[in-house]
């Protein structure tokens, strides 16, 4: 009987396994893309939300905050901030930065105008309505 451990078999397992599981991943991704319309709140993806996302990105908000748990862990989760604080609080908060309280974490002022603030709030509202399987565990994020 031939017991063997050959490099060629190991190599074939590597290439075959990698291709196999990548194809499986593509299959699952295909199903995911078909399922997303029921979950990703795309119906409310308005022009304003798109502008809001752009502001979110170009102010590098993710450098301090998390959004759906992803980002930096320096400042509060914002995917559900619309539900936690409401639109007016969010706008006032952004405008009121930095607090200047000594020793406290500071957020820069981004000098957003009224329309940009609305876009930002609309983006956060859209985000808060994505189906995240009940995450976060509670309103505190």
């Amino acid at each position: 009987m031939s017991s063997a451990f050959t490099k060629s078999a190991a190599r074939n397992i590597f290439y075959g396994g990698a291709v196999f599981f990548f194809l499986l991943f593509l299959g699952l991704t295909f199903d995911t893309m078909n399922t997303l319309p029921q979950r990703d709140n795309r119906a409310n993806l308005t022009e304003s939300v798109v502008r809001g996302k752009h502001i979110w990105e170009t102010r590098n908000c993710i450098g301090c905050h998390t959004l759906m748990g992803e980002g930096a862990y320096f400042a509060p989760e914002l995917a559900n901030v619309y539900k936690r604080r409401g639109p007016e609080f969010i706008k006032a908060w952004i405008q009121g930065q930095p607090t200047g309280a000594p020793g406290r974490r500071q957020m820069p002022n981004f000098h957003l105008n009224e329309q940009q603030l609305d876009d930002m709030v609309n983006f956060l509202k859209y985000t808060s309505e994505i189906n995240t399987s009940n995450w976060p565990p509670n309103i505190e994020g």
């Binding site: 490099k7 699952l28 995911t32 979950r39 102010r59 590098n60 020793g103 974490r105 500071q106 976060p136």
Partner: protein, 460 residues
Amino acid sequence: MKYKSQAVAKPYFIAAIALFLGQILFGLIMGLQYVVGDFLFPAIPFNVARMVHTNLLIVWLLFGFMGAAYYLIPEESERELHSTKLALVMFWIFLAAGVATILGYLLVPYATLAEMTGNNLLATMGREFLEQPLPTKVGIVVVALAMLYNLSITVLRGRKTAINLVMLVGLWGLAIFFLFSFYNPSNLVKDKYFWWWTVHLWVEGVWELIMGAMLAFVLIKVTGVDREVIEKWLYVIIAMALITGIIGTGHHYYWIGAPEYWQWWGSVFSALEPIPFFMMTVFAFNMVNRRRREHPNKAAVLWALGTGVMAFLGAGVWGFLHTLAPINFYTHGTQITAAHGHMAFYGAYVMVVITMISYTMPLMRGREANSPFAQVIEMWSFWLMTISMVFITLFLTAAGILQIWLQRIAEEPISFMAAQDQVALFYWMREAAGVIFLIGLLLYIASFFIKGKAATAVAT
């Protein structure tokens, strides 16, 4: 060093270490901002410091991978690099792009930087780890492609070994999956879904191939164990890494709006992700135990073994801790993630790059190993950095557990900022461990400047 062109790795490694130092300095700034919130505000807000910290990490690791590739591929292929000049030109382009990007982060408001660099033409900025301006991203692709051309030609015309093929596949994968960083749909769920195709498929996919190839290369050199044995184990280990890691991407899809079945697929596959790391640890120790020679570069051997252990602890154990969906429901987006990220990056990628540097640098400087004294200093730096990283991880884990309890589980959950105040003590201790890490790194850098009688091979 068998081929003259291998020396092109030297500037890559020097740049890597210099940027590593920068990364740690900004890490310390952030660590302090965690407890003294207004430190350096508004000169360097936290988000800028973090961007510099993480981007420097990525860039210096890429420098390390590239340097390693330029060193090991000629040696494995048994011929000179296709074009040393191209490799050098790419080095300067990449360094200039990297430094310009970091200066841009520090000197220009991010929104202005975005406008200046064409982000309105193709918006790719402002997403975690992919904050680089468009020209930098394009530059990364250009440098990567030029390198791949250079290396692929070298391999095609030379000897093909498991090590140079795996290295090449890993680097090609790195370039290909980076292309997803250019895809930024306004649909946030899709954005996040494919963002992970760069981030996860890098660090838990193709980077593991690069890491495996580098480790295998050094192990062959320092242990003298038969290439055949090392190469087939390399294949088995990286096969396991991809079998578990590709679908393991699912552990990032639990709470971002993707279908709920990812909770099952992600949990099952990522629960198995520690296996390849465990195999790598056992592999490294086994090969060193059955070594056929005593390599005079003891520091390199130490780094190689350390990589095995710390990668398993950081990526394997700390990853497993919070990868199962019911646990991740509570730990997602807390200091637990930070703890895992720190030890995994250090244990897997920082240490493997240093292993490679530690083995090759003396050779490129004309000796088989550094003087015993220089090696002692280097080994001190190993222990200082490694142990302080263990403590950073432990403190962040403690902070994370307390944070989760206060903010997410307690009867009356408190707000994020209130919870942060409660865990401040752990942040102070983390910062202290970070200072030790910096001392370790400074010792490491110092070890390059220590002269002394060159060691000669000792046979036992």
